[in-house]
């Protein structure tokens, strides 16, 4: 440890180096500085005074590839400057190692790829744009393929994968019930509290019930549920299909004559189309329930009054508006999730990227779709 790794002595115009200690990986950092100091020093490889160098390796206790390479680098600096470099005292094992290192790093390392900053910014913008267009393209493609698979299944219903559908329904719908009920219950409660708090200022607390009822049934219920499902099930679809793609399971299916869209994608999308209305109904009820509890405990409104006011304020139309939107949102989430899953490439990083994209895109699409539906319902007077 305390031993000097390299000591130098000038004998005439000959530089004598004596090596010692461990020339191994843990000391490689130290050793490299020593070697650079000797080679670049006043009597180093580039100086005009000294001609030759001799290195006595007899005192070295351990030598590994790190040490052997650094020794090789040292001698190369001398021979490169046209001088003589002699290594003495190497044990047999060390000599083999140095011999092995003699051949390496002969060709200059491949130049690091250089990037013009302006070009790379432009390239990034271009790639982003085509990527954005590409996602719409894959979305449309997935929609078409799923439609085709659905048509095939309609013709031959016996080929539909019922077991897989039931299994997925359990995961996507039934197992989501507790968390969705809890979240929508809390949202309903918060809406009611905010409504009562602000409407109280002009004595219109009763209208808080209208606020909760209409908002929950038309918008909030379905939106919260869709966003929850996109985060919960959409991401898992993408990750599942993506890792199946990475492990060539999708290719295996294809070679056995199965259409991956029919086997994997269609059941998942159908499940989402069925699950979203069910979860939306449940979520809306939980939200109205939460609103009622807050109206009672915080607003001092008895449950009877809350229900009476609610039946006045809302109509079946509001309920229908929310429920009609739900299956379409399920379809969009499923399509985006499966399309992104099948776009995963070889690396773990790409799985992460596609999963993020899947969640972000499906939430974005859900909100865009909600806006389109708002325009549609307004124009038909619902």
């Amino acid at each position: 440890m305390g031993e000097a790794l390299l000591t130098q002595k000038l004998v005439g115009d000959r530089l004598e180096l004596v090596a010692g200690g461990s020339w191994t990986a843990p000391y490689a950092g130290e050793l490299e500085t020593e070697i650079d100091r000797v080679a670049g020093g006043p009597s180093g490889a580039k100086s005009t005074k000294t001609t030759d160098v001799s290195i006595d390796m007899g005192g070295v206790r351990e030598l590994d590839t790190f040490g052997a390479w650094l020794l090789e680098r040292l001698t190369r600096q001398w021979t490169g400057a046209g001088r003589d470099a002699v290594v003495v005292g190497l044990p047999q094992h060390g000599a083999d190692l140095v011999e092995e290192m003699h051949g390496v790093n002969r060709e200059p390392p491949p130049p690091a790829p250089r990037h013009n900053p302006i070009v790379s910014v432009l390239a990034a913008i271009g790639r982003g744009t085509t990527g954005f267009a590409g996602s719409f393209h894959t979305f449309a493609q997935m929609l078409g393929e799923t439609g085709l698979a659905a048509a095939r299944v309609l013709v031959r219903p016996s080929e539909y994968r019922l077991t897989s559908t039931v299994h997925q329904f359990d995961r996507v719908a039934l197992q989501a019930v507790p968390i969705i009920a809890l979240i929508t219950f809390l949202i309903g409660a918060i809406l009611a509290q905010q409504g009562i708090f602000h409407f109280r200022k002009f004595g219109a607390e009763l209208y808080a019930v209208d606020l909760v009822g209409i908002l929950v049934l038309r918008e909030i219920g379905v939106l919260i549920v869709a966003i929850m499902v996109a985060g919960r099930s959409g991401s898992s679809y993408t990750a599942e299909l993506g890792s199946m793609k990475m492990r060539e399971e999708i290719d295996a299916l294809r070679t056995m004559g199965f259409d991956p869209v029919e086997v994997l994608v269609l059941p998942r999308i159908i499940v989402l189309v069925l699950a979203l209305p069910a979860l939306t109904f449940l979520g809306s009820m939980a939200a109205l329930y939460g609103g009622g509890i807050v109206a009672w405990l915080y607003g001092g409104m008895s449950p009877d009054i809350y229900i009476a006011r609610l039946t006045d304020a809302i109509s079946l139309t509001h309920f229908k508006v929310g429920m009609i939107k739900a299956p379409f949102m399920g379809l969009v989430i499923g399509l985006v999730a499966c399309a992104e899953g099948l776009r995963v490439k070889g690396s773990a990083e790409s799985l992460g990227i596609q999963t993020t994209k899947s969640v972000v895109e499906s939430i974005f699409m859900v909100i865009v779709l909600d806006g389109l539906f708002a325009i549609f319902f307004a124009s038909i007077g619902m």
Partner: protein, 259 residues
């Protein structure tokens, strides 16, 4: 030879999952600077043994000593220091898919050593050349590599810190016979120049003949037979007999013996 203390000493090892016992009171020694080939039927627990020694699978009973240290009695720091002294080549390569080949090889160096980027680059290229790759392959990503190249890069990464022991999990599986033969030779050469101990799990009869000094056969959760290839050929254990004197084994044996 047998007087020197073993590099890996496994005593009375029991490993199981649930109700199933995979390794049942297994004893094994790996001697310094030897290439030990571990064979056995699929599911005999070869990979389990390897993963238990490197600490990826918990054991129920028994002790494992690596480089003279009992794995139960080392603290966090000692364990890390010990892990630096071995390298592992996983069956599928287990390269980090988001790093280039060069970065994969440099990863252990970057984490464990305090050396300059220049030396790290030179060492990475040196290791790549040692395993028979060109520096130009350094910029590739693992998904762009063929099966044989993946194994070579994984070996270069396993050798990054100049370990004293290298664990190889089926290094030649999935390679064509010529590449597999090259790989055996490579392991042999590296073992001789770098004086490492190699613990190799394999199915490849050729590897056993060409690369291994000693062979251990796992059967029924124990080491059923142990020794050089000639010991194996004379063994009376039914599985060993079938393995080495079966159709594939005996034709190889004939060829090796006539050479």
């Amino acid at each position: 030879m047998s007087e020197t203390p073993p590099v890996i000493k496994v005593r009375d090892l029991v490993v199981g999952f649930g109700t199933q016992t995979v390794l049942d009171h297994l004893d094994m020694d790996v001697r310094p600077s030897e290439i030990l080939g571990v064979v056995g039927a699929s599911g005999a627990g070869k990979s389990v043994l390897l993963r238990t020694i490197i600490g990826l699978i918990p054991r129920r009973e028994g002790s494992i000593e690596v480089l003279g240290k009992d794995l139960d009695r080392v603290d966090e720091n000692e364990r890390r220091a010990l892990e630096r002294r071995w390298g592992v080549l996983f069956q599928q390569g287990a390269l980090f898919s988001s790093l280039t080949v060069k970065q994969n090889v440099q990863f252990p160096m970057r984490e464990n050593l305090d050396i300059s980027q220049r030396l790290m680059d030179e060492m990475a290229y040196a290791k790549l050349e040692l395993v028979g790759l060109s520096p130009r392959d350094g910029e590739k990503f693992p998904s762009e590599l063929s099966g044989g190249m993946t194994k070579r890069v994984a070996l270069a990464r396993a050798l990054a810190l100049d370990p004293e022991i290298v664990f190889l999990d089926e290094p030649t599986s999935g390679l064509d016979p010529i590449s597999a033969g090259d790989f055996d030779e490579l392991i042999r050469t590296l073992q001789q120049t770098l004086e490492i101990t190699v613990f190799m799990v394999t199915h490849d009869l050729e590897s056993l003949y060409n690369a291994c000094d000693r062979i251990a056969v796992l059967a029924d959760g124990k080491v059923a037979a142990e020794g050089t290839i000639s010991v194996m050929l004379e063994s009376q254990h039914p599985w060993v007999k079938m393995y080495f004197q079966g159709k594939r084994g005996s034709s190889l044996a004939d060829r090796e013996l006539t050479q």
